[in-house]
């Protein structure tokens, strides 16, 4: 089954048909969501009542579009704030980890490496509840000891950021390590020969080389943070990020305004995803 070995025509065509059907299956839900963002009906379902822009720009209830729907706009801002912190923190820690694992040999390195990979195989909801239980018990202990309130350790944005950071850092570490491994250390040695300090060589030679990977990791972190649901759901407080807000709407049944949000999300995530691929090359 390779191009140089001839296969019978029916086999070739049925294989192609299968692959075509597969891609239809992949595209179907996304295309459906997008198309119904323009349906002139208050439910995201058939029959098709004509084309409208109301679900983007509408101002009168029940036809309030995304750009005038306060709770959704607020949720987008919340998600943005969370994504900003998660992405910044995970890139910083990920870069340190990459230097540690690529450049240093030490006792227990393999053990720490496996431990670092674990967040990939812990279900997100478990990461969420374990952090919830742990931070609450710290908050309880601190409150009992000091008599003060420690609201930061109760469900809320800080915990959401920490929860997402706890597993997104693994991805950032892997992306940045992959690029650091390709770095030719003789470049750094040359800088040292030319009189650079150790830190100066890293800052002026190694970090610029790593920069595309760090940016790619940041973009991937923003994407993962924006779309994370399981971990966030367990740690969320009063200001919900976008996915949790959308989930609450979806359970109750909503107008096609959700389709409009989804359409925007699809466009933005596809663009960010492509950007991360270009950067990783």
């Amino acid at each position: 089954m390779i191009t140089t070995i001839p296969q019978s025509a029916p086999f070739k065509w049925s294989y192609r048909l299968y692959v075509t059907l597969f891609f239809l299956y992949l595209a179907l839900p996304l295309v459906t969501v997008c198309v119904f963002a323009f349906n002139d009906s208050v439910f995201p379902s058939l029959p098709w009542d004509g084309f409208t822009w109301d679900w983007f720009f509408g101002t009168e209830a029940p036809r309030i579009g995304v750009f005038h729907e306060r709770p959704i706009l607020r949720a987008i801002v919340t998600s943005g704030v969370v994504a900003f912190w998660v992405s910044g923190l995970s890139v910083i820690v990920g870069t340190c980890n990459a230097f540690l694992f690529v450049r240093h040999d030490f006792a227990g390195k393999n053990f720490l490496y496996i431990l670092m990979l674990l967040p990939l195989i812990i279900p997100g909801i478990i990461l969420g509840i374990s952090i919830l239980v742990f931070s609450s018990s710290i908050a309880n202990a601190l409150e009992e000891a000091t008599g003060l309130w420690f609201d930061g350790l109760r469900p809320g944005l800080l915990l959401v950021i920490l929860g997402q950071f706890s597993f997104i850092t693994t991805f950032a570490t892997l992306v940045i390590s992959a690029r650091l491994q390709k770095f030719d250390t003789s470049l750094e040695e040359a800088a040292l020969n030319l009189g650079a300090t150790k830190w100066g060589a890293i800052r002026q030679v190694t970090l610029p080389f790593l920069f595309p990977a760090m940016l790619a990791a940041a973009v991937v972190a923003v994407l993962m943070s924006f779309e994370n649901f399981n971990t966030t759901l367990m740690l969320v407080g009063s200001d919900a990020p976008l996915t949790v807000t959308m989930f609450d709407r979806l359970k109750l049944g909503s107008t096609p305004v959700l389709n409009a949000v989804s359409l925007l999300l699809i466009i933005v995530s596809a663009l960010l995803g492509l950007l991360s691929l270009v950067l990783k090359r």
Partner: protein
């Protein structure tokens, strides 16, 4: 190289890793385990015991849901592998250049989009007033609206869809690294399509198959959205029970025990998969 300065540098690099892993991964899980061993005997009075685990084993609803979640996840993993393998092979071996990049990107795009949006898409397609039902009525296959949502098949469709990319991407990567001349040699030596698949292609793709299966299984097991939104009233999922104990019932002790059981199950199956296929976690996941 072991000067005090480079030692200090090493410690500065080690610190963020340790702080991250200890405060956000290790201690929370130890804490959760300790909470799961707590039995509430009165107001703010606790005793150490396995009572919460006993509750799980004595209540058929709980362990039935647990078993159901496990076998549905295994089924979803197998189905994803069966559906995804031919596609990955097609992309890796039968296309070249721009077509290959395009097909690969088309696989990646749905993965970048939030799971919520993907599930929402399936809801619109499958619901009673949805696209599929209307299409079948239009064709005259059925006379009235049909509900495709809220059953196990809908959950399965959603799970397979959501995890497909995590299977296809590692498969494409490993199949890509298989040299075509090995397959040609197989044919020259008189191999059939089937024997070449079994003796050359699958053994070579094993790391990709294992890492794909691990990720897909774990994602299905830990999925919350798909079973809640696509499944019916009695299609419970174990993560749903955990959520109920934590958020609705506020019984953190039992919820922690459930969480630990789920974690134990997923670790056990990942461990078995690695042992059976002779792979290691670092090799399959750390790419």
């Amino acid at each position: 190289m072991t000067s005090d300065k480079s030692k200090l540098g090493f410690i500065l690099l080690l610190a963020p890793l340790l702080i991250w892993l200890i405060t956000l991964i290790v201690l929370p899980h130890v804490g959760m385990f300790l909470v799961s061993l707590r039995e509430k005997t009165g107001i703010r009075e606790y005793e150490t015991s396995f009572a919460n685990y006993a509750v799980f084993f004595n209540e058929p609803l709980y362990w039935n849901t647990f078993a159901r979640t496990a076998y549905m996840s295994i089924a979803a993993t197998a189905l994803t592998l069966l559906i995804g393998f031919p596609v990955a092979y097609y992309i890796a071996k039968l296309t070249r250049g721009r077509t290959k990049t395009t097909l690969f990107l088309m696989c990646l795009i749905p993965f970048w989009v939030s799971e919520l949006v993907r599930t929402f898409g399936w809801m619109i397609l499958l619901r009673e007033t949805g696209v599929l039902s209307s299409f079948l009525q239009y064709l005259g296959v059925v006379s009235g609206p049909v509900e495709f949502l809220y059953n196990d098949a809908a959950i399965m469709t959603g799970l397979v869809y959501t995890s497909m990319l995590f299977m296809v991407v590692p498969l494409v990567t490993t199949l890509d690294s298989l040299d075509d001349s090995l397959i040609e040699a197989g044919y020259d030596l008189g191999g059939t399509n089937w024997s070449i698949l079994r003796e050359i292609i699958i053994p070579h793709a094993m790391p990709g198959i294992v890492s794909g299966c691990i990720v897909v299984f774990m994602l299905s097991l830990g999925n919350y959205l798909t079973p809640i939104l696509l499944g019916g009233k009695d299609s419970l999922w174990f993560t749903g029970l955990i959520y109920n104990q934590f958020i609705t019932r506020f019984n953190w002790e039992l919820g922690s025990a459930f969480g630990f059981l789920l974690l134990g199950l997923s670790s056990l199956i990942v461990f078995l998969a690695l042992k059976l296929s002779g792979q290691s976690l670092g090799k399959t996941m750390g790419r």
